[in-house]
């Protein structure tokens, strides 16, 4: 038992769970306080039940489909941030990579009609991966060869990407509404999932995302390539000393991170969620959600699958909460507290170890 608790992985999971509990407890307090001011409010604990079930008590299977749908893009941006983080880089540029990826995918799925429609979405996805990768590559090259901090270049690229896309909207604009792009002709297929979940936005993107997460896990933890990238991230000097090309490592890390976020973009803009680009673009929130997802998932690709599901569920619970009379912003506050708490996860871990070793010593 003690050995089990001393395992770093187990500790991390415990710490993440503690962070979540902490956030939920905080949410309950807010619910309690606000229940005094809202006359038609139901019991706070009832509202908590709504939140922890992700609102599924009202929406059921259909809600589950929606959660799966919203989960895939933030799972990918989460992977993007988490992967970069594992290799010692902070990819705050997921937002820009996401938008560029999404736009290229949309462009391909609208314009490249010379490809049969049933395969076109695949080409769209590949285009998104490449385009996102190129945006990441720019930050990577700047960092590796010019020592430009990747955070700064990525923040600037976020705006550059956003403005570029909003200016390019015209080339695939909707005839009836020229400030917006027209919907894609080919989309990520639903393979009957829409029927099962009774919700026409549910498609196979979630499976693609989970497969990619597993792939990234394998690359990081099982391959020599991952070993090299992590060595560059943890200690660039030691990597160089060991004959690893640290510049190439950094460049590739950022490129892969960009490609992941770009893929996330495809999952929104060539999917059955009929979201399109318009010329008044804001920075894509999915990119920043990725940071939260990666933090809560402790940058571990498998952890990120769960944290993406959790955050998607919380998002889904928001609207349902208003049914209990509460303001749906409560969910946002809870999410924020959980993210804060998981940023302090190291402290949680330490306390956990102290707690259990003390118990063990007394016995």
């Amino acid at each position: 038992m003690k050995k089990f608790l001393m395992n770093a992985g187990v500790q991390k999971i415990f710490a993440a769970l503690l962070a979540i509990l902490f956030g939920l407890a905080f949410g309950v307090v807010i619910l309690f306080i606000s229940s005094f001011f809202i006359s038609k409010a139901s019991y706070p604990l009832d509202a908590l039940y709504t939140i922890v079930t992700g609102g599924l008590r009202f929406s059921g299977l259909k809600g589950l489909g929606i959660i799966m749908r919203f989960m895939s893009p933030i799972l990918l941006t989460g992977l993007s941030v988490g992967f970069a983080f594992k290799t010692g880089l902070f990819n705050i540029g997921a937002s820009g990579q996401f938008v560029i990826g999404g736009f290229v995918a949309a462009y391909i799925c609208i314009k490249w009609t010379f490809i049969p429609l049933e395969y076109l979405w695949i080409v769209g996805i590949l285009g998104a991966v490449i385009a996102g990768g190129i945006v990441g590559l720019i930050s990577g090259l700047l960092k590796a060869y010019r020592n430009v901090n990747e955070v700064i270049s990525a923040i600037m690229l976020n705006y550059i990407s956003m403005i570029t896309v909003s200016n390019l909207v015209s080339i695939i604009a909707d005839k009836n509404n020229p400030s917006r792009t027209s919907p894609p002709l080919s989309r990520i297929p639903t393979l009957g999932l829409d029927k099962i979940f009774g919700n026409n936005t549910t498609d196979i993107s979630i499976f693609i995302a989970i497969l990619v997460a597993i792939l990234i896990y394998i690359i990081l933890e099982r391959t020599t390539f991952g070993y090299e990238l992590k060595a560059c991230g943890y200690n660039r000097n030691a990597a160089r000393y060991a004959g690893i090309n640290d510049r190439l490592g950094i460049t590739l890390s950022m490129t892969i991170a960009g490609a992941l976020a770009g893929l996330g973009g495809a999952m929104v803009y060539i999917s059955s969620i009929t979201k399109v680009f318009d010329s008044l673009l804001t920075l894509a929130p999915e990119g920043f959600d990725g940071i939260s997802v990666a933090l809560l998932g402790m940058s571990n690709p498998l952890g990120i699958i769960f944290s993406a599901a959790f955050i998607a569920a919380l998002k889904n619970a928001g609207p349902a909460l208003s049914r209990s009379g509460f303001n749906e912003e409560v969910v946002k506050i809870m999410t924020a507290v959980i993210i804060y708490a998981s940023a302090f996860s190291l402290i949680f871990r330490e306390k956990l170890v102290q707690f259990f070793t003390k118990k063990g010593a007394k016995k």
Binding site: M6, K230, A231, Y234, N235, R240, Y241, A242, G243, A361
Partner: protein, 508 residues
């Protein structure tokens, strides 16, 4: 007799290891009390407990006869305890003065008052001959100077119990002498010092009593005057240790590497840090580059090992010029490098021991197939290395190297670099921070390498090591070779003259 410090029955457990096992240590007022023990014996841990960094599972601390509850360094400070850590804790982009007052700043109307602090710092510096420049940046001063800043920090806080954790491991012989003088000064003022070191000479020179730890247990506390170096090392290791190096004369064979007209640009100033250096290394010899720290030996090694580009010259290794070759080319062609800075280059501290042990070989068929790591072989290999080099840590091959003791980190690097069976071994300060038992082993290994027809290029600041291990010595001074000497035909004093630049001759 009352003791200033009494540690009673201290037990501190880390995952997989009892770092301190029921240790009772009593320190008298006004003495220099040395702590001696093998790498990983628990010295740093015990001092961290006293300083409030670790909370022991069992035991109590008495300061000046009263029980003290020390749960953090601020508490320790209140009891007058100060510590100079094995790896310093200074803010590099702050000045000396800013570092000294950090945490004890005088504030008036919400702003810092420096004048008074500056006066006090200068006073202290003068009184103890520390020669400190309060306005220099930490990043610009030498390691020896940084250590004095650490000492001044303790004095500034009026600490009278001073802990030094391996202060001499990073110092040059001259700096060590001066530190010893400063320590004696402090004692004469009634302060008490706990002094951790692996060098028996230093214990003999300054300490009054010495406590010996082995594998977490206190073996004994003895008077230094009535013990010999041999008896101390035997108590510490549990067997007789050979303090002298035994070797036969070298039988140099063909030249394996020829460095000609090598120059390196300095990263700090425009001038060359290595200037037109030429020499040959032969199989079957241990060639030593001796010199006072900062005379270009670091950059010379960077050039040979490929960590930094040459600004001129050639390095012929087995007939091929290395100047444009990669680091990987060197390791594939059997050049090993034990780096000077184990934390900067030698280890990925967040990797575990097994992962660090394959840093040079992870891409070979033994450890990967189609790009996938072969964990069974990796951990088997680690277990073998741990056995062979006696690397001690809490969780064996799974220990994160960051949590390992300094000396055992060094052993891990040695294990990795010797395991590839190099033809040319470049060893920079290979025994820094190692205990006498480990040093004996390393020296024996270096000589075995030589006798097996390999070449060894040793860079060391340790004069006794230079004299006893090497077969031929080249002295480097201000980036130039100023003398080639035979260690059997020269005294340490004479070598010192070359190293300080007072004597020089043309080399080849």
């Amino acid at each position: 007799m009352e003791y200033v410090i009494e540690l009673r029955n201290i037990t501190k457990v880390f995952p997989g290891i009892i770092a301190n096992d029921d240790i009772t240590l009593k320190v008298k007022k006004g003495e220099i009390h040395a702590l001696l023990g093998e790498n990983g014996a628990g010295k740093s841990t015990l001092m961290s407990v006293l300083f409030g960094l670790y909370k022991p599972e069992k035991g109590s601390i008495y300061i000046k006869g009263k029980e003290a509850h020390i749960t953090n360094p601020n508490d320790a400070n209140r009891y007058g305890i100060g510590m100079v850590h094995q790896h310093f804790k200074l803010v590099h982009n702050f000045t000396v003065l800013e570092n000294v007052i950090l945490g004890v700043e005088t504030v008036k109307n919400g702003t810092l008052v420096m004048a008074e602090a500056r006066r006090k710092v200068l006073d202290l510096s003068k009184r103890y001959n520390l020669f400190i420049e309060p306005d220099h940046l930490i990043s610009d001063i030498s390691v020896g100077m940084q250590q004095r800043v650490e000492i001044l920090k303790m004095l500034y806080k009026n600490n009278d119990i001073l802990i030094f954790d391996e202060p001499t491991a990073v110092l040059t012989p001259q700096e060590i002498d001066e530190l010893m003088k400063i320590m004696k000064e402090l004692i004469s003022e009634g302060k008490t010092i706990i002094f951790i070191t692996h060098k028996l000479n230093e214990i003999k020179a300054v300490a009054d009593r010495v406590s010996i730890l082995r594998k977490g247990k206190l073996i004994d506390t003895v008077d230094v005057a009535s013990s010999t170096k041999e008896s101390l090392s035997e108590m510490m290791v549990g067997r007789k240790v050979l303090l002298e190096v035994n070797k036969t004369p070298a039988e140099p064979k063909e030249v394996i590497m020829e460095v000609s007209h090598l120059s390196m640009k300095s990263k700090h100033h425009g001038k060359d840090s290595v200037n037109d250096v030429s020499f040959k290394v032969r199989r079957g010899e241990i060639l030593c580059i001796a010199g006072i720290e900062g005379n270009g030996q670091t950059d010379l090694v960077y050039g040979i090992t490929g960590l930094q580009k040459l600004s001129g010259g050639k390095i012929l290794y087995k007939g091929v010029d290395l100047a444009t070759k990669s680091i990987r080319y060197r390791s594939l062609n059997k050049i090993s490098h034990i780096p000077e800075d184990r934390h900067k280059h030698g280890l990925v501290l967040d990797y575990n021991l097994a992962e660090n042990l394959i840093l040079q070989t992870y891409f070979t068929d033994k450890f990967q197939k189609f790009g996938f790591l072969n964990f069974k072989n990796i951990y088997d290999h680690a277990d073998k290395m741990i056995q062979r080099f006696d690397i001690r840590s809490g969780s064996g091959s799974h220990s994160v190297t960051r949590s390992m003791s300094g000396g055992n980190q060094q052993k891990a690097i040695l294990a990795r670099e010797l395991d590839i069976n190099p033809d040319l071994l470049i060893a920079v300060q290979p025994t820094r921070g190692l205990d006498v038992g480990a040093i004996e082993y390393i020296h024996k290994t270096l000589i075995e390498q030589r006798d097996a027809g390999k070449a060894v290029l040793l860079v060391s600041l340790e004069l006794s090591e230079v004299m006893s291990v090497s077969d031929r010595i080249l002295v480097i001074y201000e980036g130039e070779l100023v003398g080639e000497v035979d260690p059997t035909k020269i005294t340490q004093q004479e070598l010192g003259l070359y190293m300080s630049g007072s004597k020089r001759e043309k080399v080849e």
